[in-house]
């Protein structure tokens, strides 16, 4: 399944679709890191608005993506987690600890702006 990845300056925006299988997620993980390297991006925003379920594998994959991207010196922000999905996630003990989160794309970009401002 193709996941659209947009480039907005130094930020890559990946919009995850709804019914991503494990194989899709694995491919994504590889693909995103490659793109970060290719474009020398400073940050990646992963938009999961379309995901109606976030299970342990999806959660683990997101954390791995963030980790691998950080190794490339870039920041990851997860945005668009639906309130009901967030509720289900914490029941399962999936907290995405260590990964930055924001309400939506707008907030995610604002967060990155703030971060880049202070680190420059």
């Amino acid at each position: 399944m193709e996941v659209p990845i947009l480039k907005q300056g130094a930020v890559l925006i990946a919009t995850f679709q709804a019914a991503l299988s494990d194989a899709d997620l694995n491919q994504l993980r590889m693909g995103l890191v490659q793109q970060v390297v290719k474009f020398r991006s400073r940050a990646v925003i992963v938009d999961v608005t379309a995901m109606d379920v976030m299970d342990s594998f999806a959660s683990r994959t997101l954390r791995e993506i963030a980790l691998m991207i950080r190794l490339r010196g870039a920041e990851t922000v997860i945005v668009g987690i639906h309130p009901e999905v967030a509720f289900a996630m914490v029941q399962l003990g999936l907290t995405l600890e260590g990964v930055a989160t924001a309400l939506d794309l707008e907030e995610g970009l604002a967060y990155l702006n703030e971060k880049f401002k202070t680190t420059n």
């Binding site: 019914a19 991503l20 299988s21 494990d22 194989a23 109606d52 379920v53 976030m54 299970d55 342990s56 594998f57 959660s59 683990r60 639906h82 009901e84 999905v85 509720f87 289900a88 996630m89 029941q91 399962l92 003990g93 999936l94």
Partner: protein
Amino acid sequence: MSVGEILVAINSDQDIVLARQKGRVMATELGFSTGDATLIATAISELARNIISYARKGQITLRMANGMNRQGISVIATDNGPGIPDIRQALRDGFSTSGSLGLGLPGVRRLMDEFEITSQPGRGTIVAVKKWKQ
């Protein structure tokens, strides 16, 4: 309107998505709120995932549950895998056999209202859960 029984064979990771999608549809048809339907779909996803991870293949059965003056959904995950040697351990929060999150059974139990597990080494595993409509 009567909701029948749905069996989903779990053989690949794609079946995990299929099982939870069917679960969400059934939950919605049964009149669950979207929030509860999400909890149910998430639980199904974890149960199906366990089947793939530990038994390679199995089955998820979805059907309506009827109780005293209440209705809900019943999800039964079965497999003929190696079985769980120590169920009490598996149900203790934080237990892990493979990787960071382990079986996630305590989590599934939190998501649903009723939880029953039968497992014997060499004889496979059956996890039966139910959620009632609020």
